[in-house]
């Protein structure tokens, strides 16, 4: 087992092991942005399967405590902690980040701004290699003596700092090193994204001709790079507390455990926008194409994003309302938290205004995009309850919080990814996906998703705390009604997992040429990636394009066709 799992993370390369050199340099050591995007995409998807498997194991334990989980075995208390911790860590750092930012960013930025590759291709390759290493270290942490780290994805000390509490001396350090490596990888990636979008645009592409998804990935990268520093500092301090015997977070020796929480959340809250923005951008692209309308308020959207980015640095302590912070401080953070809901709401209104009066085509990508907005709204609205410090003293660390962030993260990491993946699949692989299968997969994911997390809101409001592995030990939480809801959530999750097979089957048959060729521009879209072959050749275009207008000129009055590609002269 110990050897097979790391190999899994590299599964994208498995088939190429025994073939000749050129294949190695094409698939493994490539500096081509499209290949690196695919490496990130498939590594991220493999990690999603691992993270999903963990969720399966611990949800089974919650619904049927003590059961011998098929395919896993009995989930012990420490297993449970390690599974929950690493599920969260993986889904955020090894799925949402690599897929939404690294994979889509790498694939789309050069193609959408009209250049042949990233500005620093070798840095790009290095970024993926470090990322892959980080995934391997994380998975290895499960197989070291003591097992995987179980101190929650937020890694608060003293649990994370002292092995006499966590009992996972090695696992904690592996976890920390893996996270630090992952940050390094994204730092390198982010430098590339911003520089490429700023410096390598096609002739004629002005700053407001850049497609919104590129902007979103750029802003997300800037947010990431300006928030991650303090956490890297914190990680170094935590690592030294674990292994060198310093006491940065130990109050007995003059340190301060709350300090970690500040360093973590100063990064942690901007991080949620880091993953949110790319998904928002993907959604915007898809909506314009399938509503055949110009994006409503492009510039407002952009400025709103900047404002959100800045505000997102001022809200972090809303995660610490019960950590003993000064109530006057709590008030300030309540106000900033409520303020930041405004730009997010505004962006949702922009979507609605974009759709208004359009000729909407409910293709699979469009369904995902619409679902993204609808489901994310629930996540955003429940965030407001949590941001009010008075309410949060009750809600904190209950399943209400858990349901809140799953209603934000699931739309982002899963719905957003499926939206982007199904939309750009024809470009990436040159084939159309089967639309019927796509819709079956869509409904088979969305309906169970709500049946998983709505019960968890109710449970949270009823006082069910997070991070408890067996509620039978808590009489007031072990009632039949509450247990029934846990079972409902778990069964819905099983249903959702099964429907993912439809997706993989659909990918497989579409890719195996059972579907029709996509051609260059199957959706009749305007942006530059649709002006080259599908899949694009090395170097993207035989001759780089020139840009004459913004990306969303749909249904232009007086034009025969209802779209007007960016590279077509007037």
């Amino acid at each position: 087992m110990a050897e097979s799992i790391p190999a899994d993370a590299m599964h994208a390369h498995d088939d190429h092991h025994h073939t000749e050199q050129s294949i190695w340099s094409k698939y493994v050591f490539s500096t081509d942005h499209k290949m690196i995007a695919m490496q990130y995409m498939f590594t991220g998807m493999a990690m999603a399967l691992i993270g999903g498997f963990m969720a399966y194991a611990f949800r089974m334990q919650l619904a049927f405590p003590g059961i011998d989980v098929p395919g896993y075995g009995t989930v012990t208390a420490s297993d449970y902690n390690a599974l929950v911790t690493n599920h969260g860590t993986i889904m955020i750092f090894w799925v949402a980040m690599p897929v939404l930012i690294a994979a889509f960013g790498n694939y789309l930025i050069p193609l959408m701004v009209g250049c042949d590759d990233m500005v620093f291709p070798r840095l790009n390759r290095l970024s993926y290699q470090i990322f892959l290493l980080s995934a391997i270290v994380l998975i290895a942490s499960f197989f070291v003596p003591g097992g995987g780290f179980g101190g929650a994805w937020t890694a608060y000390p003293p649990l994370s700092a002292k092995s006499q509490y966590s009992l996972t001396a090695l696992g904690s350090s592996f976890w920390l090193v893996a996270v630090a490596l992952e940050f390094t990888a994204f730092l390198l990636g982010g430098i590339n994204f911003v520089t490429t979008a700023m410096n390598a645009r096609a002739p004629g592409m002005k700053i407001f001709d850049i497609p919104i998804v590129v902007w979103m990935i750029v802003v997300a990268s800037i947010l990431f790079m300006s928030s991650v520093g303090p956490l890297i500092a914190g990680a170094v301090m935590l690592f030294m507390d674990q292994n060198v015997g310093t006491a940065f977070f130990d109050p007995d020796k003059g340190g301060d455990p709350i300090l970690w929480q500040h360093l973590f959340w100063f990064f942690g809250h901007p991080e949620v926008y880091v993953v949110l923005l790319p998904a928002m951008g993907i959604t915007a692209e898809i909506m314009c194409v399938f509503a055949r309308k110009k994006m409503f308020a492009y510039k407002t959207f952009l400025y709103t994003t900047f404002a959100t980015g800045i505000l997102s640095f001022t809200v972090w302590a809303h995660h610490q309302f019960v950590a003993g912070i000064d109530p006057r401080m709590a008030n300030i953070f309540t106000v900033t938290t409520l303020l930041i809901s405004i730009p997010i709401a505004e962006m949702c209104f922009i979507y609605i205004a974009t759709l208004y009066g359009g000729s909407i085509r409910l293709t699979t990508p469009m369904l995902w995009a619409l679902a993204f907005v609808a489901e994310f709204l629930i996540g955003g609205v429940t965030g407001i309850f949590l941001g009010a410090s008075g309410a949060d003293i009750y809600f904190h660390d209950t399943y209400f919080v858990l349901a809140h962030f799953h209603y934000t993260f699931f739309p982002i990491a899963i719905i957003g990814t499926f939206a982007g993946f199904t939309y750009w699949f024809p470009k990436m692989f040159g084939k159309m996906m089967n639309d019927t299968l796509g819709k079956i997969h869509f409904w088979g994911t969305i309906i169970p998703f709500n049946f998983i997390f709505i019960p968890l809101f109710v449970l949270g409001a009823a006082g069910q705390h997070r991070r408890i592995y067996n509620y039978e030990h808590f009489p007031e939480l072990a009632g039949v009604e509450m247990q029934d809801m846990r079972v409902l959530a778990t069964v819905s999750m099983l249903v959702m997992l099964v429907f993912q097979l439809v997706f993989f089957y659909n990918c497989f048959i579409s890719w195996k040429k059972k579907q029709k060729d996509a051609g260059k521009n199957p959706w009749k879209a305007n942006t530059l990636e649709w002006t080259t072959d599908s899949p694009p050749p090395h170097g993207n275009w035989p001759e780089l394009p020139t840009v004459y207008r913004g990306p969303y000129e749909y249904s232009v009055p007086g034009r025969e066709e209802d779209y007007f590609p960016q590279n077509v002269p007037d």
């Binding site: 911003v194 301090m237 015997g245 940065f248 301060d256 035989p542 020139t546 002269p569």
Partner: protein, 194 residues
């Protein structure tokens, strides 16, 4: 291969980037680094403000004067780098001497800091002797690592320069990093030593 069927004769001028890519990339990196040091310094400030006495009793005094001298050495290194850049824009060969002087001064700084560490450790200030020692070695050590990295970057630029291969943007990026290393130090000195 297909070519652009919609090719047009209209010429659109290729806008020159405001900053060369190497410089922009380095600047972004430096911003991330600054945030990291900001995190360290705010952690340090918070712990220091909450402590009963600083430095904690029984811990040696930091060598304030000697380090002030060393700070001056580091600043001088930045000045020589500035001269190197001026020379480089006129006659590349003239840039060698100031560049190597800048590196020598930077190396002196690192060695001198190391010597200081040895003395302090002898006097009982270690990474684990107190929270004061932990922060001192962490912050100064982090800066030292950056200084070593900066010297490497300058060294590579110097190597290219002597081969006549140094591109202006590479040199500019190296300078950005070294100025960051130098510019950061007085702030750290002020907050940690004084």
């Amino acid at each position: 291969m297909t070519s652009r069927s919609t090719a047009s004769l209209r010429v659109i001028s290729d806008p020159r980037p405001v900053l060369p890519s190497a410089v922009l990339g380095m600047l972004i990196f430096v911003v991330a680094e600054m945030m990291m040091f900001a995190g360290l310094m705010s952690a340090y400030t918070i712990v220091r403000a909450g402590a009963l006495g600083w430095p904690p009793p029984g811990q040696p005094r930091l060598p304030v004067e000697a380090t002030a001298f060393n700070t001056a050495v580091l600043l001088a290194s930045a000045a020589f780098l500035f001269f190197a850049n001026r020379a480089y824009t006129r006659n590349r060969d003239l840039a060698k001497r100031p560049l190597f002087t800048a590196m020598a001064l930077g190396a002196f700084f690192v060695v001198f800091q190391g010597y200081e560490w040895v003395m302090l450790i002898r006097q009982g200030l270690t990474l684990t002797s107190s929270i004061h020692g932990s922060f001192f070695f962490l912050i100064v050590g982090m800066h030292g690592l950056h200084a070593v990295a900066g010297l490497t970057v300058l060294g590579r630029a110097g190597l290219k320069l002597s081969k006549g291969l140094l591109a202006p943007s590479t040199f500019a990026a190296a300078q950005v990093f070294w100025y960051f290393v130098v510019g950061l130090w007085p702030v750290l000195y002020f907050m940690v030593y004084l």
